[in-house]
Symmetry: C2
Amino acid sequence: MENFTYHNPTRIVFGKNTIGKLAKLVPADVKVLLLYGGGSIFKNGVHEACRKALEKHTVIEFGGIEANPDYATCMKAVELARREQVGFLLSVGGGSVLDGTKFIAAAIPFKGEPWDILEKNAKISAATPLASVLTLPATGSEANSFSVISRRETRQKLAFGNPLVYPVFSILDPETTYSLDARQTANGVVDAFVHCMEQYMTYPVDAPLQDRQAEAVIQTLIEEGPKVMAHPHDYVVRANIMWACTCALNGSLALGVPQDWATHMIGHELTAFFGIDHARTLAVVLPSLLRQQKAGKQAKLLQFARRIWGITTPDENQAIEEGIQRMEAFFQSLGVPTRLSDHHVKLADALPIAERLGKGPALGERGDITGATIAAILTRAE
Amino acid sequence: MENFTYHNPTRIVFGKNTIGKLAKLVPADVKVLLLYGGGSIFKNGVHEACRKALEKHTVIEFGGIEANPDYATCMKAVELARREQVGFLLSVGGGSVLDGTKFIAAAIPFKGEPWDILEKNAKISAATPLASVLTLPATGSEANSFSVISRRETRQKLAFGNPLVYPVFSILDPETTYSLDARQTANGVVDAFVHCMEQYMTYPVDAPLQDRQAEAVIQTLIEEGPKVMAHPHDYVVRANIMWACTCALNGSLALGVPQDWATHMIGHELTAFFGIDHARTLAVVLPSLLRQQKAGKQAKLLQFARRIWGITTPDENQAIEEGIQRMEAFFQSLGVPTRLSDHHVKLADALPIAERLGKGPALGERGDITGATIAAILTRAE
């Protein structure tokens, strides 16, 4: 096991009818900016519940943060927050609204061009405090310090992380997720599944507890995924999915172990280039990445096949391939396709991604995923 | 799944050669009280490493906090801290030193008789900030807000918990545990095992992730326990034991599920009455409690037998009994006995425990463990 530091200060408030707790959780002595996305919170009662809980607070609003939140949109919120001297940001929505809010929180006090936070890893020394009411389980953003922002004009999708943007609290009421459609729900399950894999599917470092903790989340998603598609209004199932998605990326699975975030890096490019849903890019990339990187991930791939899928085939390579196929079949069973061609993307149009990512540092837990490797992964995913 | 709130603000600093980080982690502008136990930290180099890291800090010391920290000892430290206007407490040692430190932290600013914090659940509105360098993995106290204090003059051993006494940080260097003897090491494994069981072994509430997270820790302890007894200087094994003990009681396993802390409550009495090591009381109580409460815990006992021990015996009751026997054999394999008679305690001398606990509220996840039930449990454990 490698050395690590873990400090996750976010207060998780989980369960039915918990939005009312905003009244006490949100500071009363500052102006609050409530941020939201496309307006679904007006249809499912979440906006009303939030405003009712905050009836004694001073609240202004900013809506329209899109999926894969855009830099330009976020900067409009930054201007508003600066002008109105906002002291607290409340994200009400899914991971995109929350990622946008984190960036906005960092950008408000930032001196200079905020895009540098993303592109040049510019140092942040302050951030406006933020919190969330989560309505879409998927990204884990509600319990971590990461954010991913897109810039459509340059086809870029970049991430940053800083302890200053941990949400002060996140309210997770599974009932708010009843109104998600099948596509959003399935995407969330796949996103969380891949988060686990990117912390788990590397090489063994004698960290059996972290392995089992990752397997616990993966197994839960495999069991609960089909249930949530069949019974979207089942509280128990929605609650289990919601908590599994948080546990997949609250940082605990990554402690003391190597990680491989290449699937996300390549996936971000697929979104930036072709507008494919984030989770759907991951479902395309991961199987091909695992096949391409099989030699370096052999031991863990076999463990995945044996423990997660119960595959007993004695031939190790065959067992590994069966494990990957089971994973693909799981994604497909949720309605999430696993090939570029399913998204009508031609390989030739995708290969520039390998060129662009290849100019940066090599990816993967061993730093061996170069531009050429990415090209091979995309080719396998054709 | 039940509603829950989780907020664990402790910063975990885990790994080799991490004690030097005290230099930056401990605030430099206040007087620091370093607390320790019987003096083992002078033999294994931990004291020297701490003082070296704190060479620019103002540090005073208080030693002699005993296993099952005594109220009278703690109050001497409270007097010292008040007199010296200490602003930060640093516990260097195991769970007992840390539990003592938490109580001292709460008692320093407390108006009135600090024993009331334990006996009368008196409200705490402040605590001196505290942190820990952990040298004995077992209690999980390094990552939670609980403390257990004994009062030998009245044969009492009582617990309290308050968010104000979460350690600000805890440094966990597995190398500091090399010098633990076999008894301390085994006790730690058993203590952590039982912590998992008290959060897991109740009745199902459709929380499959929490179940698997508990099973992950239990399974790790079962695998790593024999290894640590055989290879006490193996870094990897010591690291896995240390992290498993923290994960067993950092609060995450209890989220949204019923709990049954009766084993600890009865065990505390066995320590208070007979001076038996804490973990050894648990190894005596838990098997008998599980047999006595089998009807109410049937489903989870069967899951424990099947998933943890791989018992396939079709007869459910037989499988459950085999599971409990495997657990007893595991404790015994570590050198930890499982009967009162192993500790030369006569049933007649133990039964007053049932009388005393019977006067309080009934224990267990269903509140059905009364004085009579405790008498039955002790009788089974004879």
